[in-house]
């Protein structure tokens, strides 16, 4: 085991892992985060805290992760390259680890033009592949990017994203390979609606043997109506089959549509379980976090494995620097 991450232990134990996303609020209150965390922690092996998602200012992912820890959950902080340079990133990684955070998802980040501060200046001192490598070297070699060494390393379980639906399609697997080579331990994919296309991508992943080197968690999004699907059809990097929109449109009534949305999500998870090399699922029910337990139960993934003791840190390191 590379880290004390609970998520790593679940994956290494061969369990089909479940992670979900909690979107921190656009305010200074932790109430919502705590409420979601207290419920979701029993249904998930990791809870992702988004990092100013879609470039909209929100409560910080690291602070949110501490609230999740307080509630007994296992946080996965997301970190984008958009807002911090290499100095701030390394500092935040050290800080996050010192607070008990054991998982990090390294992302490029949505461009600031999408968010509520489109006149801001982006950073992109590093890109996401370089960030993966940096966190890995901090952990495995106790080295800062500059080459300076540290005494106590942040033992993070390192994640990265993959988009099987982005273009150029043939290059997507190469990029995954680069992330794996850079040091990614786990991958959470873009939301999957087109399972067939995803399966084709996974075939290429298996051809390169990447599924043996990295844990791949398939992303899913439960939707409440066809409107959400229609909107996502316009989002760059998403693939939404027309049949799904038709299926949702055929259902009448708000509640019935929501039920259908959950059903679709559960079906996709069932299909993902059959795809060789998929090690888990990542549920992105942003603004609808409370639906996650129903999905996890529906997909037969409850209860979560809890038959192991919390791992002990390798050495007592208090007082060290």
């Amino acid at each position: 085991m590379k880290t004390e991450s609970r998520l790593e232990r679940v994956l290494a134990g061969g369990h089909f892992a479940v992670t979900a996303e909690i979107g921190p609020p656009k305010s200074a209150s932790a109430k919502g985060i705590r409420k979601h965390a207290s419920v979701l922690k029993d249904y998930c092996d990791g809870l992702n805290l988004t990092d100013n998602q879609t470039a909209i200012v929100r409560l910080s992912s690291i602070a949110a992760a501490v609230h999740v820890l307080d509630e007994g959950g296992e946080p996965v902080i997301q970190m984008t390259c958009r807002d911090r340079n290499r100095i701030a990133m390394q500092s935040d990684i050290l800080g996050a680890y010192s607070l008990g955070i054991r998982n990090i998802l390294c992302l490029s980040g949505d461009h600031q033009s999408f968010g509520n501060h489109p006149t801001s200046k982006n950073v992109y001192d590093l890109d996401s592949v370089q960030l993966v490598r940096m966190v890995k070297e901090m952990r495995d070699e106790k080295k800062f990017l500059s080459g300076d060494t540290m005494k106590t390393e942040p033992r993070m379980f390192v994640g990265a994203a993959a988009n099987p639906f982005g273009d150029p399609f043939e290059f997507r697997v190469v990029r995954l390979a680069k992330k794996v080579e850079a040091g990614a331990d786990f991958i959470q994919t873009q939301a999957i609606f087109d399972v067939e296309k995803f399966a084709r991508w996974m075939e290429m992943v298996r051809d390169r043997g990447l599924h043996k080197q990295v844990y791949i968690l398939g992303g899913v999004i439960p939707v409440k109506s066809e409107k959400a699907l229609q909107y996502m059809q316009t989002v760059p990097g998403m693939a939404i089959p027309d049949e799904l929109i038709k299926r949702m449109s055929a259902v009448k009534g708000k509640e019935a549509k929501q039920e259908e949305g959950v059903k679709i999500c559960v079906e996709i998870i069932e299909q993902l379980k059959q795809v060789e090399g998929v090690c888990g699922v990542h549920i992105m029910a942003v603004m609808w976090e409370r639906i996650v337990p129903e999905i996890v139960q529906g997909a037969g993934l409850f209860p979560r494995p809890r038959d192991f003791e919390p791992a002990e840190p390798e050495a007592a390191q208090a007082g060290d620097d």
Partner: protein, 222 residues
Amino acid sequence: MIVAERKHLKEIQGLVSDQDRILIVGCQECVTVCMAGGEREVGILASSLRLARSREGKPVEILEQTIHRQCDFEFVDELKDKVEGVDCIISMACGVGVQFVAERYVDRWVVPALNTKFAGGTKEIGLWEERCGLCGECILYLTGGVCPIARCSKSLLNGPCGGSQKGKCEVSEDIDCGWQLIYDRLQEKGRLDLLFEFQPPKDWSVARDGGPRKVVREDVML
């Protein structure tokens, strides 16, 4: 070349509203090519200002001169005679030219008439596009001659990001994804292998940070 675009007349008018004797200076290099600050544009700005001011009942005296290059003191010195007769200079050069003029004529009020945009070229008549981010350490040999710094919206070195779709950048339908361009170019050249390599973080210390950058060539110094 440096590509620039003229500011709105209203803005320029506001910048010189309290000036009565003005010299407008054009430049024959880049800004002539991108039709922002050459002799022709100096003439247009001069007449527009004169007209606007006389309409306001505040007539203004405007001189015009276009020099070979404003980013060269040798040519900036040619303005001397005309500068004598004015209080204010409107430079229609890029930001570099404006600064050279301001540096030479410190007792005159110097204002820019252009917004300096980028290092780019003429794509077609009336369309200029950015091509170089002036990063200080060119890596075009890794990317088939397509600059990832200027042409990817996130300046990624290990792109493309997840937002690239159908050749377009996630930022807008009007922006080609720089990394799709790189991919296509390298595929054409049979050099996709270049993209398999991990590109380490860039050394930005040679780019925009650390005060004005200098190039020194002692071998050509007098």
